[in-house]
Amino acid sequence: MIALSLLFSKQPQQGSVALNSANKWVGGILDTQNTIREYFELRQINAGLLEKNTKLLGELALYKRGVDSVYIPLDSVQQEYAYFGAKIIRNSIHLNRNYFTLNKGSKDGIQEGMGVFNEEGAIGRIRSVSENYAVGFSILHTETKLSAVIASSGVLGSVSWDGQSAKQAKLDFVPRHVEVAVGDRILTSGFNTIFPPGIPVGRVSKVETASGNSNYLDITIDLEVNFSSLNYVYVVNHTNKEELNELHEAAQIDDAF
């Protein structure tokens, strides 16, 4: 009896991807539940969308051509990133390995490994996809590694989460000699195929010299995204992902998140 139970209790640990909320039935129930909950958050959602629209209008103004300039179409430049809209129908923030579920799946073009963000900043990465739903792990996952840069100095680091607070994360691998100020913005680096460069991740809230012989600073950052109220998000696909990944693999570079 004991052996039986041990066998049973060990197995689902390993095959954890098989049964999750990307499942058709589970996803369906969560979807309905979210539709109801959404009514209570409409005000907040509208405010977020308005903010994003304002930002986009500002950016659009930069691209508008003056009447007198000569326009040369840049047809050699290929669009590198493709974007999808989706909605988070389930999210957790209190465990050590937190996942979220999206209401879009392979049918809508979502694939494993795509990045997820909203108007506030980077959220996470798609982990597994079914026909209609997708599950991803957020920055609030203790195995997350997100390649990021410090905006003011351009120094590269890696964002990880220690499981303590849903509002804070760590920035690892920033060498001791780098000067980091509290309030510095942390952005995605774009050095891998998950996120385009320049998506906000957080702001530096505390800088300490790590104890012992460590060559790196101990940096705590306040995350930009409010993970406790996520609703509409964007999923981004790097259109040359396969090529880049193959190249990285050939060069034997471990691709961080």
Binding site: P12, N20, I29
Partner: protein, 173 residues
């Protein structure tokens, strides 16, 4: 087991599951105290239920919960351990004269004091395994202990309230 009570038990279990994944999952007090009420379903199964069927029930039940929580086996492992130990603990707690004709071990049948004695170690075990698996390999045991302790208190008090509100002396629900 008569077909009727079989159906009632399934309905009972689905009700617990629905309440857990639709309402209680959203509720985490202060970011520490999870309200995991579903082990109560397993605790309140009839006293004479065989261990093997308890294990099977908790396996299926755990997998369903894991699917909704995206916790990949954590609920299953915790529930299976609970199921394994439950009958042994029930045996150890047998009152003088045995359980006689009492069918389910709920607080109204057995008394609040007895129920707390019955439920606390089992829930503690369940919560320890759940949160232990969650923080496996991370080393932040203080946080884990805090989560376990606060969730345990919440689960115990919720279990008592639910029983006092929704159960009658004769039979479950």
């Amino acid at each position: 087991m008569p077909f009727n009570s079989f159906l009632r038990e399934i309905g009972h279990g689905l009700l617990f599951l629905a309440v857990q994944v639709i309402f209680l999952k959203q509720l985490v007090l202060f970011g520490y105290a999870f309200l995991l009420l579903y082990p109560l379903f397993l605790l309140l199964l009839p006293i004479r239920r065989k261990s093997l069927s308890l294990l099977l029930i908790s396996f299926v039940y755990g997998l369903l919960l894991d699917a909704f929580y995206d916790t990949g086996g954590m609920h299953t492992a915790a529930l299976l351990t609970l199921a394994l130990v439950r009958n042994l603990w029930l045996e150890a707690l047998t009152p003088t004269g045995g359980y006689a004709d009492i069918e389910t071990p709920h607080a109204l049948n057995m008394g609040v004091g007895w129920f707390i004695l019955y439920a606390t170690p089992l829930l503690l075990l369940h919560h320890l395994i759940f949160f232990g698996l969650d923080s496996l390999g991370l080393g932040n045991w203080g946080l884990m202990a805090l989560k376990t302790g606060s969730s345990l208190l919440l689960a115990l008090s919720a279990s008592l309230v639910v029983q006092l509100l929704f159960y009658s002396k004769k039979r479950a629900l």
